[in-house]
């Protein structure tokens, strides 16, 4: 019999493999990353165990529940809501002491806790032994050892959750002793609160939060649902507690210190009892790698080299399959055209469906699919290894000088995948000012929707289609330059913002450099193809199909002598010329607002529908098309610049709106990025013309 679904919360520090546990339990393929801020919304997944239905809620990874950042607030609110019947805390066996802090905090809130000690395989590799039975005895809760990446321990975990929720296990969570004064206060307030909190929440914890927040005030905490009649007794207890604390010389700040100190000491004590290190310097290998990857001399060159290698492999590897795909897909287009003619379809229908819809799709697939299928697994590999936090570590000083948050480097890296995801990941930044800066500037790094455009233009114009190894190398350098430029612009705009509209000094910064992990190649390939490549491609296709129809229609509906598209392009032409572009390029960017992926296909279509038809089955043909439409190297450079610096795509804009809850800041993001592009293109175009270079 399946009753209603039981809610299980999944909490844990970042980098503990929490999302892997989530995937293992639910089978849902949520992407996991090796750095903070990855789980940005509460992903939910269901599973059935012993004919019981469970809803697993993946909380953001946090170190603590004291609600400093958005992530922590989300996690705390959910655990405290009383909604979850069971809370599973996932910890990293190689870093257990630190993780226990959160475990103890969760155990204070609720009795229904299961501890999952994950990454036991890593611990074994580092010769760290964890005495799980003893840990379970000490904490008074079920403890399950696991290596979620290989599925080890997952059935045990399901069993523990099942038995706890069915009342077959009774937990006796370890109570942290806060010393005589605080304990007396808790004894006063706890019973008074007992009837007022959810059945899944401990009144002792509610009492602790109450004195921690506002001793004496009686209604300070948002987790207490105080009926209007009740506060009297609580106020009395609160006032008494207040006096006790004052007598004990514990004011607001010393009390907080005291509470955290007790927690940390308790975690230390437990850890000492259950952990055995066979090797003193179990992290020696990590330190060795760090000493190269973040070294004074090699840190930044190695970073550029790694990125360069990733792009080189992408460009080199994507070349052939791209051409083969294009060849195949355009062969199909010819056959479709023959079919349409044979069926006697009217010209416009053939135009809309084959020349508009199908051709755009063919372009999107052949231009985007191969680079993405190579780029994403490589990028995911760097992510899985734990390299991204090192990038943030290497670049932090630049961000500090720009008065921005160090973690902005992380959110920036996320932007390489998708700017909308990058904007969401800004939640890891707890200062609102710096979070806004990170959100507004995220669009300055090219997302994968823009990489194909940059790569294609780099290959055909900057490199000159020379062919051979030199070509992909030069294209790589071009893309790398674009990225470095993107980072410099990010820093410059961050600095300008923090000196004008978002004034302030950088807030505190601490960044964890998680242990390096052995990546699982097979998993990476499957996950990055399924979760990222196909997802992004699918989105591009969904957007490109209607855009193809609209663009074709605009290009073929005539008002007077010109098509709508041409009218638009003519209108924009003078402005485009100022920026080193033309009217069609600007039109393509505007029509490409829904997704950056389709800017190039739209541009190609507008040129083709207005000029003569060419068989576009390789990049050389593309170059001929562009040159025939008046492109020079300057046009290519300015288009690449504008591609790097223009308004965020529709999805990103909506995400900014959602994350900032403000139309104003969404408009600021739109204006700042676009203005930057316009100014840069103007300077480059006019400069080049003045110098007689173009």
């Amino acid at each position: 019999m399946m009753g209603e679904s039981l809610v299980v919360a999944l909490a844990g520090n970042p980098n503990t493999g929490k999302s892997t546990v989530f995937n293992c339990l639910t089978g849902l393929n949520q992407h996991t990353g090796n750095w903070p801020g990855k789980t940005v919304t509460n992903a939910r997944g269901k599973y059935v165990y012993r004919q019981r239905c469970f809803t697993l809620v993946d909380l953001p990874g946090t170190y603590s529940l004291f609600a400093n950042s958005v992530d922590e607030k989300v996690a705390q609110d959910f655990i405290c809501s009383g909604e979850p019947e069971v809370t599973v805390v996932v910890t990293d066996a190689t870093c257990l002491e630190r993780n226990l802090n959160l475990v103890l905090q969760v155990m204070e809130i609720t009795n229904n806790v299961v501890l999952c000690v994950n990454l036991l395989d890593e611990a074994r590799r580092k010769k760290i032994q964890v005495d799980l039975p003893r840990l379970s005895r000490l904490l008074g809760i079920p403890v399950i050892g696991a290596s979620a990446r290989s599925g080890v321990g997952m059935t045990d975990l399901k069993e523990a959750i099942y038995r706890l929720s069915a009342g077959q296990i009774k937990t006796r969570p370890l109570q942290i002793s806060y010393g005589p004064v605080v304990e007396k206060c808790l004894a006063l307030l706890g019973p008074a609160l007992a009837g007022l909190v959810d059945k899944n929440i401990n009144s002792r914890w509610a009492a602790l939060r109450l004195i921690d927040d506002h001793p004496g005030s009686g209604h300070g905490s948002r987790y207490l649902f105080l009926p209007r009649a009740a506060p009297e007794q609580i106020q009395a207890a609160g006032a008494q507690a207040d006096r006790l604390l004052t007598d004990g010389a514990l004011d607001q700040s010393t009390l907080r210190d005291h509470i955290v100190t007790c927690l940390v000491s308790q975690a230390e004590e437990v850890a000492q009892k259950v952990l055995k290190y066979e090797r003193q310097n179990y992290n020696a290998a990590d330190r060795k790698i760090d000493s190269i990857l973040t070294s004074r001399i090699w840190g930044i060159p190695v970073m550029l080299l790694l990125l360069g290698v990733v792009f080189w492999i992408t460009i080199k590897g994507a070349n052939y399959p791209s051409q083969a795909l294009a060849g195949g897909l355009f062969w199909i287009e010819d056959r479709l055209t023959q079919l349409c003619l044979a069926a006697g379809w009217p010209g416009w229908l053939h135009g809309v469906l084959v020349l508009g819809l199908y051709r755009t799709l063919a372009w999107v697939i052949s231009v985007m699919l191969p680079p993405m299928a190579i780029f994403f697994p490589l990028f995911t590999l760097l992510e899985d290894l734990g390299y991204l936090p090192r990038i943030a570590f290497n670049l932090d000083n630049f961000f500090k000088k720009a008065c921005a948050h160090g973690k902005q480097a992380l959110t920036m890296c996320m932007g390489f995948g998708c700017n909308a995801a990058g904007v969401i990941s800004c939640r890891i930044i707890d200062s609102p000012r710096e979070r806004l800066i990170a959100i507004i500037t995220n669009n300055f790094v090219p997302c994968n929707g823009r990489f194909p455009t940059l790569i294609a233009l780099a290959v055909i114009f900057i490199v000159g289609g020379a062919g051979g190894a030199g070509q992909s190398l030069a294209a790589t350098l071009t893309v790398l330059t674009a990225i470095v430029l993107g980072v410099i612009i990010t820093l410059a705009i961050s600095r300008i913002l923090s000196q004008t509209v978002l004034k302030g000094i950088p807030s505190s910064f601490s960044l964890e450099l998680p242990p390096y992990r052995k990546p699982q190649i097979g998993r990476i390939i499957v996950r990055s193809i399924l979760d990222r490549t196909l997802f992004v491609l699918g989105r591009a296709i969904i957007v490109a199909a209607p855009a193809g129809v609209i663009t074709w229609s605009f290009a073929n509906i005539f008002i007077g002598d010109h098509s709508i598209l041409q009218h638009g392009a003519n209108l924009l032409a003078p402005f485009g010329h100022l920026l080193g572009l033309d009217g069609f390029i600007l039109m393509a960017f505007i029509l490409g607002l829904p997704a950056n992926e389709i800017v190039l296909p739209i541009l190609i279509m507008s040129y083709m529908s207005t000029g003569q038809m060419i068989e576009l089955d390789n990049l050389q043909a593309l170059k001929e098309l562009f040159v025939a439409n008046g492109w020079t190297w300057l046009t290519a450079v300015c288009t690449m610049l504008f591609c790097l610096n223009h308004f965020p795509c529709g999805t990103t804009l909506l995400t900014i709106k959602k994350e900032t809850r403000s139309t104003k800041w969404t408009l600021v993001a739109f204006a700042v990025t676009t203005a930057t592009g316009i100014i840069l293109c103007f300077i480059v175009a006019q400069g080049a013309r003045l110098l007689g270079l173009a």
């Binding site: 400093n68 700040s253 330190r287 973040t294 570590f393 932090d396 000083n397 160090g406 450099l513």
Partner: protein
């Protein structure tokens, strides 16, 4: 040398014991969350390429702190 020094002056490879935190408010809270209570051993591991931030080993985790924050943590230098 057994006096108190701010953490950011600890040279890489040496370690210290936390004596007290000067930081207030949210920063202090963050530091406590990292486990930086009195008596905690901190090892300065490595500087980033530009010298700041510095990576420290705190309770088995590697945490990078900017000098602004590290300077608000007073430690006793431990020899060896």
């Amino acid at each position: 040398m057994n006096g108190l020094v701010p953490l950011h002056l600890l040279s890489p490879g040496t370690s210290g014991k936390v004596n007290r935190l000067i930081a207030e408010g949210n920063t202090r809270r963050r530091m406590l969350d990292l486990g930086l209570i009195r008596g905690t051993r901190v090892v300065a591991l490595q500087k980033s390429p530009s010298g700041d931030p510095v990576a420290y080993e705190i309770r088995g985790a590697v945490i990078a702190l900017r000098s602004e924050e590290a300077s608000q943590i007073l430690v006793e230098v431990l020899s060896g």
